[in-house]
Symmetry: D2
Subunit: 366 residues, 4 copies
């Protein structure tokens, strides 16, 4: 059991990399919400491979077909849809799949991919073509669901933005150091290569190109901020904002760490430095600093939510690696063929926004 | 809605710091499992304040009374209980509570505590005495539930251990560098001050004492390892091991970050270094390294699970802090009274073990 | 997994008939709701054995101790409690238990009790004393939870009442034929023997006495009505009002059928007779008849909800019955000792109210 | 939130009567299960309108397209698919829809349809064409999911069959009076008009024709039996077999009552008659009678499960009915156009089998 989550917004993702289609059912969208399809498609395009040097050459148009739950508003200009209260289902057809690339992988698991544990779990019956249900491609329906949630939040004054915080050792500025007005929030996330500081971005692209050049890959961190959240969302213990957001973020392949506010940095700090004192600003109770990333006791404080997700380097590299043939039980060298991202972090930026938005939307609608 | 979690092992925690009692309902323990109460109580004692310099002076005996679900085995020696298939409920009476210490906090929220968001969420009706349901004391029933899960896992060949990985900037060795045989795993976690390297532990205690001396507090990291896990546990996407374990860990107050394997370290690494190649060892398929902490695609690989949780410094410090009076809406200086841990990390070690064990038990019993 | 349910109001019931205590955790009660304990205890008393001829002679005082979630209002007169947002836990100690009565039942299952399937499910480890977790006694914590929900609903203008619709072949009037103003609704349910027509009640008591006299038991039907429900509660398909209410009602031991509105009667009717036409009454859209019991498509219509639950005769009878010894695998005669209700229907009336109220409260708070 | 259910088998149904498509996601099917598509399609055909006098004239081919989760077995003859562990999604395109038929219903709710409560719940934004998400058409994806579950159960020795128990006042024999060997079980359910006694079926068809002739509709009861169930499935209280099966059955539009075993009949019986005594038959512990329908304490006994669902008459009738215009708030006469079943009971038979199979599969796979 794997592909369903949420309490007020229920998300059910389906599909494999090379099945007929992938898609998602989103249940719980209130009736009467209108959605402009243009920003939804724009959002999904940010996740799709761009053909740029730092992404895979695989082409994915990722155009979702809406099967249910949204009614076309005939009177409106553009592609405006209105939710009717029924679950929304969208499917994306799989095209440009080259299943042959994966045949040599059936019994020789790729290091640090899900191949081996999936083989054990599914007794060898899992769909290995393109990584099957473990493919990063499954983040496309996640992004569709996320795009709807982002629109729902936006109408309630809540905005979500993310950027590349780091690639390898190269760091962008943090959202914590930036004025998080709407413009600043979106400025970074909507760039083609979403960083705050152009110069850091330049060096990141160089590092990615360098890694690619030697058949290698590189990891990075995505930082996400959410502004406009009211204080009081979330629950103590198991259903706090951190519990829910981290659960969603670990659904994105390659995420190996999640931290809120100063996160791991807080572990080497002192209370006198780490505490966020309260003050009044324009009649509102706010904290002077935001080391806690907008969450205390699992509940939003009204300050911006700040969360970072650490991505490991894409496990698919062109170099020869050690593996074991599961049938013959002999050690074997493996070279992974196919088209892969040398660094998934740029394309992961909207995925992080989507995951965070889904978790928050679930809380907002409760 | 907050205090319930799990699919096969359902945990429902209740109570406030100063209510009649705190406790937990654990549903889903298979019938016929026998539990020796001695190790359960021993485990809970690790969480209870020790009276040592690095913990609170508050005395908590934390003796659970078992109300249901476990039948005393009259024939066995010692306190042996056998599960009967009904939900297990255990309660711990609250004693040695000094509610008066908290009166000045009713409308002046302590920085970085849950006071302010709780005030908003519960419209001022929340129980503020001792932090109410946000109190670290609620980890006592969590530890009771965890202790049962640890025993269930142990019988299935799975062992859980944790230690203090860091306090402030002082680091212990990592479990990643240690031979994780059962003895090594337990050696650290069962110490009174649970570290691998005594000398690091000495310096940590000094740092805590130093912080305490100036009325301050300090953060740290707990590292947990689980050995003996079979490959194939967990599900892709929303119900992977990382999703479930992180959701449980963020239930522990003060946790602000969670990472698996090399975690955030992976974000600055390359695929050629970060991938874990396979090899055969004694006829078994294992990885040469374990940068992924025993999880790929959300599923266990058969290697030890490695997870770290970052704890922020205890927000309760003796120094004067800035706050706002919620009634008069005026800024105010606040000094927190009461007995507090200058560093919760030592007592958090069993809490981390408990949270991880509950998540894994939920997966094992599916 | 068995004892937990709900989405907005989560109920976790624990305990066995002869364990230290039974109880319930109720999570999701909004903070700031005040509860007078008097009507809660009054409600629970309706379920407790009265010592009258038609109930068991076992004495159960059923006084709940509130461990958490409710704070005593020191300023109010009487026992007024206010919810603080934390889960409410209440426990009821088990007293006056005669475990010896059940020893002869360990391996000889009582016909139509849960003994045999429980023996298989729990591999013989289940607590057989007094029926263990299958005991009707577990409806006491259900009634405590239900009483809180009834109070929450009452404040929102929603009232719940039930009565004995039939015992054996003897029928009371239906709520469908009565003006369901608050007085009429409560008039029946608050009687010591809750029927609308006294004369029917008299004959029911005679029938119960007659059955008891010959060591037998008799079944019956409880009818419940809920007034004041707004239109629009509930969801299509799996989470409709009927789905949720029936799921709760089948949690009460001995319930074997549930019907809404005319229920099974509708199966022999025609659309022209069974449809409920709309009309305007005092500016409101109402139906002229209420054959659908206030629910269409799983959603409330604004008409009173009408539901009936069929109870089988108490399986504990004094007559000799055929059974099989599970150890020797030989057929055997069994005579059940102990104190039992010849008809549980009178005491089941508040249980039905509780179950219905919990389901509706879960919907109301969404 | 409405369209998702289950713990081990999760079902997420989507679509409206006139949306692009309807469909279902089935998550939790173990990997490596092979499915012959032929019996699945055969099963779905039983639900589709036959063009016979007793069903609607609307044509629905209901051919599901499988988008994910099942891999075509290239080596096998016929349409054999193997589950790969990923969620199965199947969609059915909506064709032959005549949306114009529904325009006059937008603001004039049809009596005893979901129109009015849906209008309130969805604030007028619900898709009214063909009943939207409340359409009986949504039982097609339910039947697809059910067909997979029926196949899974069949391989585990469990068989599901249903028949028309009654139409109006005309009764078929009960499964309780029949030898429930596989042949007998299937004999009735696979007939084009699924009854045990041909003669009763003949009279039922006459009654339906008669009702249809005068523009009316008629209700009925479907009875379902499940053989081969092991003892010990299900849980006490909220997750018993009765709770789960009834929750699923009430998902079928028009179901207003559910009973197990003798159900409501038990309410007028005595313990001495209603109890099911145990005996040994061929070394097995069975009950001599099966008044409890194979369930005690929410748990299967090993006897056949017997359940009946009461269907109200189709609310769509050709006669003029009273309603209210929701816009003008004036009373109005309404005549429903379109093509409707005068009795849905014949087509509901596979729906009941599907609902019961899904609930049991969820229990079997735990």
């Amino acid at each position: 059991m794997s592909s369903e989550t949420g309490k007020n917004i229920k998300i059910s993702v389906f599909g494999q990399s090379h099945s007929e289609a992938i898609g998602v059912v989103v249940d719980g969208i209130p009736a009467g919400e209108s959605f402009d399809l243009a920003p939804v498609l724009e959002f999904m395009k940010r996740r799709a491979p761009s053909g740029k040097a730092y992404t895979t050459m695989r082409k994915e148009t990722d155009e979702p077909e809406i099967l249910s739950g949204l009614l076309r508003d005939e009177k409106a200009e553009g592609e405006i849809y209105v939710s009717c209260g029924a679950p929304v289902c969208a499917v994306i057809r799989n095209r440009d799949t080259r299943s042959a690339d994966y045949e040599n992988l059936r019994f020789v698991p790729r290091p640090s991919h899900a191949d081996y544990p999936a083989y054990i779990k599914y007794k060898g019956f899992n769909d290995i073509r393109g990584g099957g249900q473990f493919s990063g491609r499954l983040t496309a329906p996640l992004c569709f669901a996320g795009a709807l949630c982002i629109e729902l939040l936006k109408k309630r004054g809540i905005n979500v933005g993310a950027h590349i915080f780091s690639v390898g050792d190269i760091r962008d500025k943090s959202f914590e150091t930036v004025d998080l007005s709407l413009n600043e929030l979106k400025a970074a996330s909507l760039k083609e290569f979403p960083v705050i500081e152009e110069e850091a971005g330049e060096r990141m692209r160089e590092l990615i190109a360098e890694a690619k050049g030697r058949g290698d890959s590189v990891g990075g961190i995505v930082e996400c901020a959410v502004t406009g959240l009211p204080a009081g969302l979330g629950d103590p213990m198991f259903d706090g904002v951190e519990n829910k957001v981290s659960r969603m973020l670990f659904a994105i392949p390659a995420v190996k760490g999640v931290e809120f506010g100063d996160g791991f940095g807080l572990s080497s700090s002192f209370g006198s430095l780490a505490n966020d004192p309260y003050e009044l600003r324009e009649g509102k109770i706010l904290t002077k600093t935001n080391h806690n990333g907008g969450i205390l006791g699992g509940i939003t404080t009204g300050m911006p939510l700040i969360v970072r997700a650490a991505f490991k380097p894409t496990p698919s590299i062109a170099l020869s690696q050690d593996s074991v043939d599961l049938l013959s039980m002999k050690e074997e060298k493996l070279t992974v063929k196919g088209r892969h991202d040398p660094c998934i972090v740029p394309r992961a930026v909207p995925c992080v926004e989507a995951a965070v938005a889904i978790a928050l939307c679930d809380l907002m609608l409760s």
